[in-house]
Symmetry: C2
């Protein structure tokens, strides 16, 4: 057993999935799943550039935005928005609280629930991230016209809805 230097905590970085030349992709090109996956990885790449060094993953970003836009939201509801279990929403909240970005305050109308609120520091952070992520998103979609981009959003919404 040799000594190992522990790997640093790093958010996962998905490299863009290159198309391999001369390979037969068979039905994959006709399926929405594989195309969605490739597009998502590409977008994640620009997302990562936009949040470099903050340790913010897409779910975390989504959470921050939702808490910012809906102060007092409960952890359970946050979990629903993200599509994760309550326990996951809790881990997420702990992570934010440890960094002083979000704080839990007792919900006035429900003794069980916590209401989530951005701290001033969280506010500042999420504002900057929103700007940078939106920029990166647009840059990544530069190969699309504005009309195509809107159409893409519409179709994705229809698919998910």
């Amino acid at each position: 057993m040799t000594k190992r230097i522990p790997s640093p905590h790093r958010p996962r970085v998905l490299a863009p999935i290159e198309r391999v030349a001369g390979l037969d992709y068979d039905v994959l090109d006709e399926l929405l799943g594989y195309s969605l996956r490739r597009a998502q990885v590409a977008i994640f790449h620009s997302f990562y550039e936009a949040t470099r060094g903050l340790g913010v993953t897409p779910p975390r970003f989504t959470a921050m935005v939702v808490v910012g836009a809906n102060p007092g939201i409960s952890q359970s509801t946050l979990g629903s928005v993200l599509g994760i279990a309550r326990s996951g929403a809790m881990t997420l909240t702990d992570w934010f609280e440890a960094r002083g970005w979000v704080e839990r305050r007792r919900a006035p109308s429900d003794g069980r629930a916590w209401g989530l609120h951005l701290t001033p520091r969280g506010e500042k952070l999420v504002a900057g991230m929103k700007r940078r992520v939106a920029e990166g998103d647009l840059k990544r979609a530069a190969s699309l016209t504005a009309k195509e981009r809107r159409e893409l959003l519409r179709l994705l919404g229809k698919l998910a809805g």
Copy 2:
């Protein structure tokens, strides 16, 4: 410490992400990332229906299709197609081999590499899966017209490319 029944091995099932009524989604609806994610989860749901009981995840499905269409492909190349590291491609191959779906044969031109091939059983399985996944994909996209579906595929390809 109470006794616990070990949870069964189960592929991850992502429930569809419902839109929470009365919630402010802020910029999320304007970003490709969140829309892609929701669409992907929706598609995964139909994918899961189509491969129920086989333990086949999207990357595994992709791998099977690619191996089927490119007999003799190396593990490294397979990893590139999937966007994962060599070590991951190996775990994947082990999984297939343990089920008798794929076999490794020495590559004639390179003493280091293995060539991957579907077994007869693998051939049969992948054929059935391809059919069912394509069906599920179409059913999931039933809210789109054929033209919209083609347009969606085109736009996703542009985005990823």
